[in-house]
Structure formats: C-alpha cells, structure tokens
Amino acid sequence: MSLEKPVPDAPDEVGVTEDGLDYDALEELVSEHVIDRESHVNAEALVIRPDAVQDTLSALKEEAGFDHCSAVTAQEYEDRYESIYHLKKFDDPTQQLSVVVPANKDEPVSESAESVYRTADWHEREAYDLVGIEYDDHPDLRRILLPETWQGHPMGKDYNQNQPQVVPLREHVNPLAEDHSAGEDSDTMFVNIGPHHPATHGVLHVKTVLDGEQIADIDPDIGYLHRNEEQMCEQSTYRHQIMPYPDRWDYTPGGILNEWAYARAAESMADIEVPEYAQVLRTMSAELTRIAAHMLALGTFGLDVYGDFNAIFMYAVRDREAVQNILEDLTGQRLMFNYFRLGGVSWDVPEPREEFFEKIREFLDGLPEYIEEYHNLITENEIFQLRCIDTGILPPEVAKNYGATGPVLRGSGVDYDLRRDDPYGYYDELDWNVVTEDGCDNYSRVLVRMREVEESAKIIRQCVDLLEDWPEDDREIQANVPRTLRPEADKEVYEAVEGAKGELGIYMRSDGTDKPARFKIRSPCFSNLQTLPEMSEGEYIPDMVASLGSLDIVLGEVDR
C-alpha cells in the first residue's frame, strides 16, 4: 500500500522493541539524572535533575534516537516550576518521550537544551517570557513574544493582571530609529524589515543587517500579534469554549486542521471514541481546508516573487474560492469554521446530499486543469526557476534540528507526515502518498505544496465516495459526550496533528475542573520561522523575502 513509510535501516536505538518503546531501558540509559517517573497519556515521562538537561537530552538524542524536540512546555505549580521537553522521532513519531525538568519555586533555573536541540532556543525564550523559568547556558535569553519592558510573566501564578504595563516607544524598539549596532565605520547597514512591510505576511519584524544587497545577519522579532491564546484556552471549558480558538490561530484558513489538534488532544485525554462516519467527515473537511491554505500559500508566494499586480495571486484566490464555497456549505462559515466537536462534528453534510457531493466532485474534476495552469505559469517559468532553485537552502539535518515540520521539512526531503506516521482520523484507511522533494530550496517547498494539493484531492474523492455509500441509519456524527467534561485531575497529554503548516501540537494538563490547568500550543510556524536566519544569511534580500514566503508562516499562529 502506498501509505507505508519506507523502513529506515534498522537503527541501533536504545529502548526500541517489537511492541513499542521500552521506557525502562530509556530510564536506565540516563538513570544517573532521573529522579522520578511520571505517566502521561501519550507517553511516559522522565523527571530529571535541572542541572543535567543537556546530558540527558543528548544521550536520548544520540543513543535513543529522539531527534525531534517537538515542543517545550513550561508551567508553574504550587510548589515548583516545570519544563517539559516533548521528544519524538522523525522516523516514527509514535515513539514519544517527555522529559520533565522541575525547577525551584523561588529561583526557577534549569539548564538550557539549546545546545542539543537548536529549536529549544525560541521555545525556551517563550517559556521564560510567559512563565518565568530561566535557562542556564541559553545563548540569548530575552523575551520573545512580549515587549522587552514588560513587567512580570503573565502565565505565572503571582502575575497581577491589573498591573499597568508601560511600554514606551522610546524604550521599545522604534522601527524608524537609526541603529548603530553594526558600528559607525562598518560597511553594513541596519534596516528594519517590518513590522509594516509588504513582504512580511502580517506583522513580522525582521531586524536585518545588510552588506550591500546581501544579508549579513537577520533576527526575526515576533509577538506583534500575541494574544496569549494559551491563557484564553485555560479560561475556557473543554466541551465547547475552546474549540473556536484554534480557528483564530491560522486564518489562511487552516482552521479545521487546527481544530483537529485540540479535538485529538482532548479526546485522548477524556478517552472519547469518535464514530467512524464523523472521522470521514473530519478527514474530508480537513483536507478541503488544506487545499485552501496551500492555495493561499501559493498565491502569496507569487506576490513575493512576482511583485504586486500579478496574476498568480488572483488565480490562486479564484480557485480557492471554490473550496471556500464548499466549506461554507458544510460548516456555515468561511473562515472561523468551528466545525469540530469533541467526539464528532457539528453537522452532517448539507441536504440535498447529492448536490453537495456533486459540487465537490466538480471542483475535484477541475483541479488538475488548474494545477496544470499553475505549473505552466509558475514552476515552468524560467525566471521563476532562476529565482527559486538553489535559494533559501535548508539541509535536512538543519531542518530537523530546528524542529521544522510540514511542507518545509518535506521540501528538504524528510519523509515525515503525521497523517501517516502517527495516524488519526480516517487517513490510514485511504490511499494517498506523502509528498517529498529533495531540493531543500524555495522551489521544492512550493512544489511540495502544489503536489500536496493533488494528494488532498485524492483523499477528498475517496471520502466523498465513502460518505455517499454510507448506510443511512449509521450516520452517527457525534459520540455521546457529557455536557460538561471534567477529566480526572493531573492527566497530562501532548498530541499533535498535521496542520497546514506542519506539526500542530497541543499539551493539556487537567486539574479535575472543566477547564484545563495548562494549555500549550506547539505552533508549526513558530518552529519553521526559526530556520529563516539559516536560510537567508549570505543571500540577497529578494531571496530572504522568497524564503519567508516559502515558509508560509501565518503570524496568528506564530504569536498565538
């Protein structure tokens, strides 16, 4: 079957057995640092000493093969702080391990994991910014989402919400200010690209040092769209109030895909079984969303490389409109779908069913023609190839180290897709392929998205066939879920799905109430954006802009 992942040469990794991970062996591997062991819903967790983070993680990475640090969750308890490193393997993301690092309540300091996983750089900065844990040996421990002058850490327990925050422009970075950080007599020029700039796809601020037209150094500055969605989710009930929020992270629209991340985590925590019919509906709607999101990514990439007034953007938006209309028929919404419910979806396909299926089929039949047109207009254009091939190079090892996922990682030739590798929904019953390209450049990333649209179309077609033939008395769209959901206390879960931009993970901890005690979002764009300096330094400004476009970030998801 096409869905099987090529088996890697049997790696000699500690803890890998025929039937899953042997956590005892893993504990044995780093036993000198382990102080306790916890059991999370998705994986076992090792509690280690805060001054042995680097030793532990590098042993787990080198010897046990945990090469993917998916996320870093920080939280404050009554008696301690805690950072959780959610580890996975790119070869098999079902093999997971959480490493819990407690930190002292009065002086929360633990060792940084940045030297082991490059991706921990931004994740630990976020933890420092929002929760207040300090990381020893971190190369650049600054605030990342909030302004530099912010007082307090908003997700800490003793944070005063009513404290006035003074963020004067003169103390915060004024984008118009002269900058002499490069020195008076140097040949370089500092220029602020963003937060208001046509190429940044939102409010991203890229501090750039130019050497002529070439980029000597860049530093993406994020947080302009930060709303602390995590805290908003922590103040909402599991059953109904959280579900609309994921739509607001990725409004390109990756909404339904994002809803699935929360649905998966919550269903895994509360042990909810989703009816098969609802799974097919979920799969179909999610893939429709993916097509819409990839179309927009293609269009905006066109803006970046072609300039404004180009046909690509409008063509992509025109074809995306067909998807939007279908989604509108299905969910009643065009952008903020709020279609999923815990244990199912909110409605069945609209009546008359035949008409709806016909509409989807019509779109799917027209799609190959559109794609052909795009290939003619975009990927086969010599100037486009001149611009995109061999620019914005992201080698696979670097991409993995930064925790890049989604089309960005697959454009670097890494065969990693959670829909197949950590199956959920109805994906493992269907016939489709994971798309990879080996170019590692801007061109590959665009090509991956275009080919993924075709794969999504395949999935949707199979789903439509299934839905059409589904026996009428078996169309159960919603499992029986209590009106108020109160998972038992101290359950911890980290689950991820393949969103439009990559691996979207949700960590939740319950405390026995109907609201999560900690809600953490692992945004794929956040990790992907970290790779920008790797791709752009030494290249020209237009290449940096193209790389940024090929990363396909949406700032709502970066900043949350």
């Binding site: 130019l210 300039g307 007034f309 180009n310 025109r318 100037i383 611009r387 020209y540």
Partner: protein, 352 residues
C-alpha cells in the same frame, strides 16, 4: 504619407506669426509644445492609470473600477481629487532642493523626449538632425531624478531603490542605445522623420496586403532586444527591481506623498509611453498605417506597447538584482553589439 513640416511652422503659417520675428517663433513653438504636451498627458495621466487598472484586472481575473461613471471612467476624476488632496509629508531629514526637484526631473525628462517624436499628420514639435540621440539623452536624465529621490529621502529603502535604479539603468541604457544605433545604420540618419520615412517602402506584396519595410520586420532580432531593454529602462516586470514593493517597500518613491507622488507616478507613465513611442518610431513605422490617419495609428502603437508592459507585469516574476545586472552586462550588451556589427556588415555588403 504627407510630407509635412514640424508643428511650430504650421502654426506660424496658419496664424501669420512670421511677422513677429523671434517672438512669433517662440509663440509658435509654445503652442506646438502645448498641443503635444496635452496629447501626451491625455494619454498618460488621464487615460493611463484608468486603463492600467482595467488591463491589469483583465489579466488577473478581476473586475476593477466600475462604480463611478460608465466603465468606471469617473474614477479618473475621483483619483485626481484624491491624490491631490492628500497631505504632503516631507521627511524631517530630507535633503530639500534635491528632494523637491526629483519628481520634476523624472516627469520632465520623459516629457521632453516627446518633442522630437513624429506622431503623424505633421504633429512634431521639432525635427533636429540628431533627434534620436536627443531622445536617449533626455530620457536618461531620469536616472538622475531617481538617484536624487533615493538619496535625498533619507530612508534606507529609498536609498537602496535609488542605487538599484541607477545600476539597472546603467546596465540597460547601453544595449538600448546600441540597438537604436543599428536602426540608424539602416536608415542612415538620426533624424526622426527620416527614420520614419525610411520604413515606408513595401517589402512584400501579399495580395492586397502590403508588408512594409518596418525595421521591426527587417530586423526582428534588434526589435526583441530593444523591447526587452526598454522594459528594464522603464522598470517594469520582470525588471521592476528599483521599486520592488515586496522587497524594498516602494524603492526611491517610499517617502513621496501627495503631489510629489503624483509626479512620480506620472513620470513612470510618461516613461512607459515614451518607450512605446520610441519602439513605434524606430521599429513599427511610426505613424504609418492604412486608412486611419497617422496620429491614430501612432496612438494605437504606443498603447500596444503599454499593453505589453502590463502583460509582462501580470505574468512574469521579477529577477534578482544580481541576475538583472548579469543579464544586462553579459547578455544584452553582447547581443546588442553582435546585432550592431552584423547590421553594419550586412548593410555594408548589400548596400541598402
């Protein structure tokens, strides 16, 4: 083709201005310049922006302006009022005389070029013997305007845009002039009216259709080179690097607003139309064409070139600055020299 004198002489004959000596000559010249200027501005400032919106919309599957007046024609007035009534914001650190002069230099240089273009029906302000050299000379003053704008705005994006503009114009001016020179070898003169006259013979008679000796047909290679170099000269895709909005915001015009911006915008349009006028004159027989009067044919030809630039803008990605310089110096320059030498050899051997 009616052999006609330049426009000022027609005016002075008509109005009997000869008796006033130099003053009369001056007045006749002024009247002629006024007429040509009005014609050019009607095309570029009035019809241009509206047509650009409509054309781009058609290329990109949109509807464009259609609310004010029939086909949205009222938008022309709305746009003028809107642009002129905006606040003029001048950056504190702007280098004043240069900052204020730059838009004038840009718009003026292109407008001056039209003085020697024969538009048919005797509409031509002046017909000096060095006509073609004059057009190239005044058109390249625009580079100075771009540099002034980029440098005096005291903005890093403007600065980059100004530098890019000059680098680009240097790289493309030379192929442009060299290709123009190959036409001069054919025509044996720099005088614009003579260049047009040299294209009036019939090359081939296909039944009722006579194919004329337009240089675009005689030497399509030079024609293609000139069109490409001209795209770069006027800064349109794939060569819109000096203002590349997704890279350097708006390049040299980032800090310009209100009337100054209008002048920049206008200058660009006039440049595109001047490029069209040059292409029409040098390669497409100027105002020549069957049935319709010359001025109509001339207008159709420059609008065709304008349409082409908008098409390129809608469909082609922009190249990178280093790639552009490479194409200019390593590609077009070599090709235009080859074209020049080949033309000279062929003309010398065949002895046209």
């Amino acid at each position: 083709m009616v052999e006609s004198a330049p426009l000022p002489e027609t005016f002075s004959d008509l109005l009997g201005l000869e008796q006033f000596g130099v003053a009369g000559e001056f007045l006749a010249g002024l009247l002629a310049a006024g007429l040509v200027g009005t014609f050019v501005l009607l095309n570029t400032a009035v019809a241009g922006p509206w047509a650009k919106r409509k054309i781009t919309a058609s290329f990109t599957d949109r509807i464009s302006v259609n609310r004010v007046g029939p086909w949205g024609l009222g938008t022309i007035i709305v746009d003028s009022v809107r642009l002129l009534s905006k606040e003029l914001i001048i950056p504190e650190d702007a280098d004043r005389p240069a900052y204020d002069l730059a838009p004038l230099v840009l718009a003026g240089s292109a407008l001056l070029g039209f003085a020697v273009i024969p538009m048919g029906n005797g509409i031509q302000v002046a017909d000096p013997e060095v006509g073609l050299a004059y057009v190239f000379a005044v058109a390249s003053i625009a580079s100075l305007g771009l540099l002034m704008a980029g440098y005096s705005s005291s903005n890093k994006y403007s600065f980059l845009g100004g530098l890019r503009a000059v680098a680009q114009n240097l790289a493309y001016e030379i192929p442009l002039v060299l290709t123009g020179a190959s036409v001069v070898i054919f025509a044996g003169t720099l005088q614009m009216s003579e260049i047009v006259a040299a294209q009036q013979e019939t090359l081939l008679q296909l039944g009722p259709v006579a194919i004329p000796t337009w240089f675009g047909i005689l030497n399509p290679f030079a024609f293609a080179l000139f069109v490409v170099a001209n795209l770069a000269e006027v800064g349109r895709n794939p060569f819109d690097i000096p203002e590349a909005p997704t890279e350097i915001v708006a390049g040299y015009q980032t800090e310009y607003s209100s009337v100054y911006f209008v002048l920049f915008y206008l200058g660009e349009f006039i440049h595109i139309f001047l490029g069209g006028a040059l292409i029409a004159t040098l390669f497409l027989g100027g105002p020549a064409g069957p049935i319709l009067p010359g001025i109509v044919w001339f207008t159709i030809k420059i609008w065709a070139v304008f349409l082409f630039t908008q098409w390129a803008r809608s469909a082609l990605p922009r190249v990178r600055i280093d790639q552009l310089i490479e194409i200019g110096w390593k590609g077009l320059l070599v090709l235009s020299f080859a074209n020049l030498i080949l033309t000279a050899v062929i003309v010398g051997v065949v002895g046209v």
